[in-house]
């Protein structure tokens, strides 16, 4: 026991958690994020880096399958924690930490699981279904170097070769299919954006909601108890600001936004106001942040009308960030009542908005919009 036990105890102090949010279970996810940081743990961005898989809420059939696939990709020692409500987060994480220490259990787990990575047989059309981070993403890595384009029947290790397509300049270029979501760091819960990439430019995209959720909110409410229901506007906005700042890579500012969010959530108004003020100053002062967000998804009046978007989406990602922080300030400070909501952005328009952008800009663009988590729009958009 001695050495390996000590190693395990040391290792558990730095546990990384892959958080999967079932749409609607934002409160559980935020509580998990809050508690894992307090333990000195950190969120993981991919299953490869995760020790604990924390599933917030009860996933539907489609998401369940994806969660199982994520589980398969975790290197181990691995622990799965199903957390159905914010109240059980603490005990679930305690149990996960205890199980992580159980070295014999993990040894058995390692022997019993599949020893080689493989592509699941049921991967849907062309194999680009499902996988969230693009790991093992089938149908993608097939740059002509492996013997030219063509033959779709050529599929080394089950990965079909890429098909060519005309790029922006009319030249033939390989097309790669890469789904973004539903499990991706700082990404709207449940949203799946199936992108066709040429290089890292999105040439075509399709959006959908995992498990087709949008009209069955009661389902989520029933499972989640107190966690479901509409989130307070300021909390959601803080969460969105945190995601955008984290994607832009300003870690201190993102941490500040998270603290503001958690303070708002637990009703600590003074702390929230402090954090929001600090956030506001940081965001305004950083010219580097402005230069990196400038021009990302620039929407003018005509653009807003064409996509049927509300007026507060006007400008570029940086404008939207500033106006959002401004609204949080007003709400947290209580200086003025919340201005009349002019609605969020339905996820179905996302493909139209992001087509033609480079992958990094797509992420910033999506994070800069107030995506409506439960939109009335039902249709699946095509870009």
């Amino acid at each position: 026991m001695g050495l390996s036990g000590a190693l395990a105890r040391l290792a558990v102090r730095a546990t990384r958690v892959l958080v999967v949010e079932v749409p609607g279970h934002w409160a559980t996810r935020m509580e998990v994020e809050h508690q894992l940081l307090r333990r000195g743990w950190r969120p993981a961005w991919t299953p490869a880096d995760a020790d604990v898989l924390a599933v917030c809420g009860a996933p539907g059939p489609e998401l369940s399958e994806l969660v199982d696939r994520l589980w398969e990709q975790m290197p181990g020692p691995r622990v799965r924690a199903d957390i159905t409500s914010p109240g059980t987060v603490g005990s679930a994480l305690d149990a996960a930490a205890a199980l992580l220490l159980d070295t014999p259990h993990h040894r058995t787990d390692a022997q019993e699981r599949a020893q080689e990575p493989e592509i699941p047989e049921d991967a849907d059309h062309g194999g680009h279904g499902g996988m969230d981070h693009g790991e093992m993403d089938h149908g993608e890595m097939d740059h002509g170097g492996h013997g030219g384009h063509g033959g779709m029947d050529m599929a080394p290790e089950g990965i079909p070769l890429a098909e060519g397509g005309e790029d922006r300049d009319g030249l033939e270029m390989d097309v790669l299919h890469l789904p973004l979501g539903p499990v991706l760091p700082f990404w709207p819960a449940g949203l799946v954006l199936r992108c066709s990439l040429q290089g890292d430019v999105v040439v075509n995209a399709e959006a959908s909601m995992v498990d087709g959720r949008n009209d069955d909110e009661d389902d989520g409410a029933g499972a989640a108890g107190p966690s479901a229901g509409p989130a307070p506007a300021a909390v959601v906005r803080c969460d969105q600001v945190m995601a955008l700042l984290a994607l832009a890579g300003v870690e201190d500012a993102a941490a500040c936004a998270r603290r503001a969010r958690d303070a708002l959530l637990c009703g600590d108004e003074d702390a929230a106001r402090d954090a929001v003020e600090r956030l506001d100053r940081t965001v305004r002062r950083s010219w580097l942040l402005r230069s990196s967000l400038r021009g990302v998804l620039l929407l003018d009046r005509a653009g807003l009308e064409r996509h049927g978007l509300p007026g507060h989406c006007r400008g570029d990602a940086h404008d939207r960030l500033l106006s959002r922080v401004e609204r949080i300030r007003a709400e947290a400070g209580g200086t003025e009542p919340t201005p009349a909501e002019d609605g969020g952005v339905p996820w179905a328009v996302v493909p139209d908005l992001v087509t033609g952008l480079e992958l990094g800009s797509v992420r910033l663009a999506v994070a800069s919009l107030d995506l409506d988590p439960h939109p009335a729009v039902q249709a699946v958009g095509h870009g």
């Binding site: 490869a48 020790d51 693009g134 993608e140 890595m141 990965i159 994607l247 890579g249 300003v250």
Partner: protein, 311 residues
């Protein structure tokens, strides 16, 4: 130069140099963890490097479907090895492991190697995100590498030598940082660049699930991450003989001054990471070629004129 200003020590001392480098890199990880903990309002954090290393040592390695395993592992392990190669030419006060005539070029050679290493680490996993990360790094490399090369030229011109010991010795009076601040700044940008650090980490960014790191677990991840910290440390250490007067300083012996200055530069680089956003490769390209490169060349011109004028 007729005779060397530094003493070359036997190869066995390389072990001590390696330990010193690891110690400094450990400090960088601990400082980063402590700053992170403070920003999150969670306290503690100084012991985090041990926990993180233990976690990755305990974690199993993994592979992906049709991974190019050999190149993938070379990419990761190469980062670890490269940093040790770099410190071979950095004098610690009056001692050095290898007093190469072309020490500055040696440093540059190793940092160019990083291009291949990071890209291979991204390529090998056979994952779209890893590959996007690898190419993002190359795009950054195209923008920071030439300015970095011209920044390295400035101290060499002033000292009239490419040997690192001579460059350090040529600063007895005024440190090069005083009259070549632009070159120093560009050099630090280059160091963060080849360490895939801070603003230059879009290759490892959250928007592509960790990019080059997306598929790495266990000891493979540990090796690549450690390599980044070691490169950052080696780069900070190299700025000392090049711009900060080497071992020059009152009271303390030369080797202690080298360490103190290295720690100071390293701490600034670690602290800045949390404050600055990522520089998007497409946008930094313009800064690199339109601002940094002309600025570095201009700096070289000024240095050359001063050297000629002084005779």
């Amino acid at each position: 130069m007729a005779e060397s200003v530094v003493t070359t020590v036997p190869g066995g001392w390389a072990v001590l140099a390696g330990i010193l480098l690891c110690g400094l890199a450990f400090f960088a990880v601990a400082l980063d963890a402590a700053l992170s903990a403070r920003a999150q309002g969670t306290g503690g954090g100084w012991g985090a490097p041990l926990g993180r290393a233990a976690r990755l040592l305990r974690q199993r390695r993994r592979s992906t479907v049709a991974a190019d395993t050999l190149l993938w592992r070379i990419g990761g392990a190469g980062m670890l090895v490269g940093a040790f190669l770099m410190i071979a030419v950095i004098p610690l006060g009056e001692w050095t492991l290898a007093d190469l005539d072309v020490g500055v070029v040696w440093f540059n050679t190793v940092d160019v190697m990083v291009w291949a290493l990071v890209w291979l680490a991204g390529w090998g996993a056979n994952s779209a995100h890893g590959l996007v990360g690898g190419y993002r790094f190359l795009a950054h490399g195209l923008a920071y590498e030439l300015p970095l090369m011209f920044a390295l030229v400035a101290p060499a011109i002033a000292a009239g030598s490419l040997a690192v010991g001579d460059v350090a010795a040529a600063q007895d009076g005024v440190w090069f940082v005083v009259w070549m601040p632009v070159a120093f700044l560009v050099f630090l940008i280059g160091v963060t660049g080849f360490s895939v650090w801070g603003p230059f980490a879009p290759a490892l960014a959250a928007d592509i699930g960790g990019g080059v790191l997306a598929e790495l677990s266990g000891v493979d991840r540990l090796v690549l991450q450690a390599g980044r910290y070691l490169f950052l440390t080696a780069g900070a250490a190299f700025s000392v003989p090049l711009f900060l007067g080497g071992g020059a300083g009152p009271v303390l012996p030369g080797w202690a001054w080298v360490l103190v200055k290295t720690v100071a530069v390293l701490a600034v680089l670690v602290w800045l990471r949390r404050k600055l956003p990522l520089l998007r490769p497409d946008r930094f390209m313009e800064i690199g070629w339109m601002v940094l490169l002309p600025a570095a060349v201009l700096q070289d011109l000024v240095v050359s004129l001063v050297v000629v004028w002084k005779g």
